[in-house]
Symmetry: C2
Subunit: 416 residues, 2 copies
């Protein structure tokens, strides 16, 4: 109906003889409009291409954590159609994006319909303005401590690569390093971190007993640097970046996103820091290869989302984000207090709205099943994040307040 103006690209997997076509066609066998009989050419055995299945995706564990949770939730709803199921499982944001941020995105969208406001392809690495704002907000500034000025974290605009979010960047990092390096993933961790390594072929079969990597320990060393930067009561327990550690720029890459800060899980915006100081063993800068891969595998984050990112990092945007963060922190405290008062030992929940509750000697999936069955609450079995998560359940504080309060009421009923 509409002629294409750009050419599409297609990958042929094999050649088929047109005389052997299995394409169905519907043939009119009667002229009467009311009694058209349609005859469909019968489908024969499915044609198989000569292309072998890539062994890497085949190695992925069948039960991906969140789909499995969704499956059990659906089965539960079918079993108890009248139950008010509350989901504190997956870490998805629930509160609206602050108006000061959303309205900037709306303005950008409207501007795209004007000659002055229209723009096409942007830089693959992201808008200069946004990259500069990320560098100065999260990695910049001077700090003063013990008579010494520290020169911020030394991360500059050119070290920042804007993306559509961390999951995509982690996949591009796999392309960057290829399949011949050894990857260490902390345990427990988000399943996608392991799976993206499997896809590129960095493992044989999934190794359940792989040595644990306590990555987060590294980021707790240098909080002192930030004690004068307004972190208030949390100054010594809230590391912001791995680059707070002296020397980290020469050994580390950091991936982050606006998803949880700003409620951008659906809007899609993130960034990766690849410092120019980071070098391969032959001295070649890692950032140069990452830049090339970005340019060939990505075409920049949506310009509307990037306008939202810039709005996030204004004074008003930062304050508005902080208000939403505060709301989720209050949710977290309610959940922590509930479990603690019931005698459970609780971990995490300080710098992220995820509460880890210990059920010593029990299976995570058993605890998950019991909570769902008895009080209609969806949580996350810790073992889904790796062997070290066994015996824990994860409870997300990303939820509306009334759901959190009701969930806690039910937990008290179950465990009192």
């Amino acid at each position: 109906m509409y002629a294409p103006i750009s050419s599409s690209s297609s990958a042929f997997l094999g050649q088929r003889s047109s005389t052997n076509s299995r394409w169905s066609k519907v043939v009119i066998t009667s002229r009467s409009c009311e009694t058209i009989r349609c005859v469909v050419t019968p489908e024969k055995t499915a044609y198989k291409t000569k292309v072998s299945r890539n062994a890497n995706p085949a190695k992925l564990q069948a039960g991906y954590l969140f789909p499995e949770i969704a499956r059990r939730r659906a089965a539960h709803i079918q079993k108890y159609p009248d139950a008010q199921v509350i989901s504190l499982g997956i870490g998805d944001t629930t509160e609206p994006i602050p108006e000061v941020i959303a309205s900037e995105m709306a303005m950008r969208a409207n501007a795209l319909s004007t000659s002055e406001g229209y723009s096409g392809y942007g830089a693959e690495q992201g808008d200069k303005k946004l990259r500069a704002a990320i560098a100065s907000t999260y990695y910049g500034g001077l700090s003063f401590s013990d008579g010494i000025f520290y020169g911020g974290l030394g991360i500059e605009e050119s070290d920042i690569f804007v993306s559509d979010e961390a999951k995509s960047d982690i996949s591009l990092l796999q392309l960057l390093f290829g399949s011949k390096v050894t990857m260490a993933v902390q345990d427990p961790s988000c399943p996608a971190y392991v799976d993206s390594s499997v896809i590129i072929g960095q493992t044989g079969l999934f190794q359940k007993d792989a040595e644990k990597c306590h990555l987060l320990l590294f980021t707790k060393q240098s909080n002192r640097l930030y004690s004068d930067k307004g972190l208030a009561g949390e100054a010594d327990d809230s590391p912001r970046s791995i680059f707070e550690i002296p020397g980290a720029k020469e050994v580390a890459i950091e991936t982050s996103s606006f998803s949880k800060y700003a409620g951008f899980t659906g809007v899609r915006l993130g960034w990766t820091v690849v410092p120019k100081e980071l070098l391969f063993s032959d001295g070649f800068p890692v950032a140069k290869d990452f830049g090339r891969i970005i340019c060939k595998s990505f075409n920049g984050a949506s310009n509307i989302a990037q306008a939202g990112g810039v709005a996030c990092l204004t004074t008003e945007g930062l304050q508005a984000m902080q208000d939403v963060v505060q709301f989720y922190k209050e949710n977290t405290k309610i959940i922590v207090d509930t479990f603690t008062s019931l005698g459970f030992k609780v971990y995490g929940a300080k710098n992220a709205p995820y509460v880890w509750v210990h059920f010593p000697g029990q299976s995570s999936w058993d605890v998950f099943a019991e909570i769902l069955e008895k009080v209609h609450l969806v949580t996350t079995p810790g073992s889904g994040f790796g062997p070290a998560g066994e015996g824990f359940i994860g409870v997300s504080a990303f939820s509306h307040r009334h759901n959190v309060l009701e969930a806690c009421r039910r937990l008290e009923q179950l465990y009192k």
Copy 2:
């Protein structure tokens, strides 16, 4: 300043001893604010990690076509600071997004700041509504020809995977197939198609003499199917999809995007069709593995962009897009007529706004350089798209009308 609420993930490339830190610090050596003297610890030789550079990105050809054009353009502007350089090189859209589409994106952005309108993570494969609209608009419907009803192209909603655009999808397709398959790329083609294969390791060195793959020939066989579908004068010269070919669903994947149709080059929205009928040699459906890779390497296109996609596929949106397409087609005709009247043989420019002009026996880069030097026009050297492009220059019709008219005036001046 703002405590992170989500954990960031970091990849350590090595361990550094903190006693050997090269992190600069600025030390105050005077108490007077006016005469602070800053002493920066001198940087020693750069630290190299023990991680080997991945050989695949290293094999990419150094001069990526578009950066090289940009470099020459910048040098030209430096040489002739007063010249009015006109760029008909890269295929980037220039006309505003139709208001009927942009306003829907603005509405979606604003709605994200309300409780009712907010949404978080969407399906990785895209919104159901958008997938259905793509399937029915571009692949659906019945057609009637020679007394036979053809059942559309038989592509369904579940065969559509929404993405942030073709470049990202082509990279994910490389992850899908892995490095052990042979890839055929048409010649000439967009450099990114070759480069994404190089990154995954599917080639040794770039093979300039690789056998040519005349992929587009395949899509011209079945235009007849569309002769009743409103393509008017172009019916027999405007294939819409590779799936017009009987049997193609069992051997082909198609990638497309809203970039050029709707001016979404900056907004970022596209899709890939992986039909359920497409099977690996062992009978496993390709779409199942692609779905798993999408879920682990991508988290869905921006919800605002997807709202724009749905607006594109309404009756008003389709008409508005067609008006913009018509504008670019008129640009194309102006360029074609100019070159033809000057005695050049011109190719392409029928189903895409790219005019290929033949300069027999000449080097593409020489012609590019002459046109830039003498009349300040940026074109694209055909050889940048592959060996078969040598002797051609590409001229894009994506430009404002006054630029096209002025460019043609200069070309007449140069070649008359």
